[in-house]
Symmetry: none
Subunit: 244 residues, 2 copies
Amino acid sequence: MARLQPNILVVEDDRETRTLIAKYLRNNSCNVTIASDGREMFRAMTDHRVDLIILDVMLPGEDGLSLCRTVRAQSHTPIIMLTARGEDVDRILGLEMGADDYLAKPFNPRELLARINAVLRRQAIAGTASANDGATALTFLRWRIDFRLRELRNPEGARVAMTSAEFDLLWTFCERPGRVLSRESLLDLTQGRNAGSFERSIDVLVSRIRRKIEPDQQEPTLIKTVRSGGYMFTPRVDAVGAGN
Amino acid sequence: MARLQPNILVVEDDRETRTLIAKYLRNNSCNVTIASDGREMFRAMTDHRVDLIILDVMLPGEDGLSLCRTVRAQSHTPIIMLTARGEDVDRILGLEMGADDYLAKPFNPRELLARINAVLRRQAIAGTASANDGATALTFLRWRIDFRLRELRNPEGARVAMTSAEFDLLWTFCERPGRVLSRESLLDLTQGRNAGSFERSIDVLVSRIRRKIEPDQQEPTLIKTVRSGGYMFTPRVDAVGAGN
DNA sequence: GCGATCTGTTATATTCTGTTACTAAAGCCG
DNA sequence: CGGCTTTAGTAACAGAATATAACAGATCGC
């Protein structure tokens, strides 16, 4: 769903932080470009396609907030802002700045990755609404999960009520079919939360989802348990265009 | 999308307020012209292109309401009116005056900026959508919401009574379909946070709107709840288009 | 002013969600 | 095959978030 190797532009003046972020993202299948100020940022943006910008609030010269507005005025490239703690979050995310998400320093790089994924995913959805290809829904075994509408329909076409958390988890599974996902990474992906050591919340959620979608309660066929590994969503998943 | 440096014309007789607004807007990438009464306003308008007018209701000589009507009759330049509390909002925004938005004094300048952006964006969309004046209405699932008339019609074409606050909120939703809006930003967008209202008030309003527009009271399909996130307006696919 | 309407607040009911605890199942080892 | 250990499934619970009825102050239209 999300681009396989998204181009991330990291705009951050502190060399150490910058390198750290870049390294981490590169280790996690992102193409990373770095810039230390607004000028370099714009150069990079005209240079090649940028899928997402990570933008520090504090920058020499024109500051991040101002840059954010400017970028926003010209393009729809999503922006995640790195803020200091206690920054006025509403304004950053609100109409005025229009950033897509933010992260307060100091942050956990995994958390950043989770946010990036979330934003890109949203972007993919939003993009289809107006313009181009991308899918807004996935189907598996004649079930259909629509991210934009946040609804799940069974093979008969009836809506199946899902709570927010259940939906998010199922969505995450659908995006990564056929891969074993650890509880930890599932927690990360759905909530950007660092897993507290032994939490069984994923187990419980899986159980609740299974009750709603598994044809045979005794023998799960959709979400398989991988002992001491996590869970795996097994059915073949097809992308479906806008929900018409 | 939005003009990079929109030309804003501020019409306000109180020098202090006027200067404050101008200063703030200039700091936020706007070109600002000021006028202290109707005469100066018209002079400015013939002088150069004006993208948006901020117009105080109380003015010496010909008052803001009257000026608003006049401008409206001649051009499509969007207008945001500054009103005193308790002013008749429906009338100001409605057919009679035709302002595009309003803000009750005293207001937060950041909120003003947000409104400006919103109006300009709408304008941009309306402009590109097809041709002309139109685009004062949106349709979703055969419902039709008309911003100018401030009325809502159901698929059968019957008017559905909406109170001012309900309409404002629904409008806000319609402008941002498919996005999760936090209670906080909804408050900001509808009232500018001046009024110290609690976030629960959004819940109550949503509940009231749902009662009027949701086909199934048990299972909302239009305004979805995103737990600990806010609400999301999810009209089906074709839904949002210029009301032609 | 007076009744009708609107709107935010409060209180209560309902729903959701993560945790805990207990049970069942799976692996391990002799 | 049994015991023993580890891991998963899920009922039950408690805290959090949401839905909505009811209330009261504000506002509107006469």
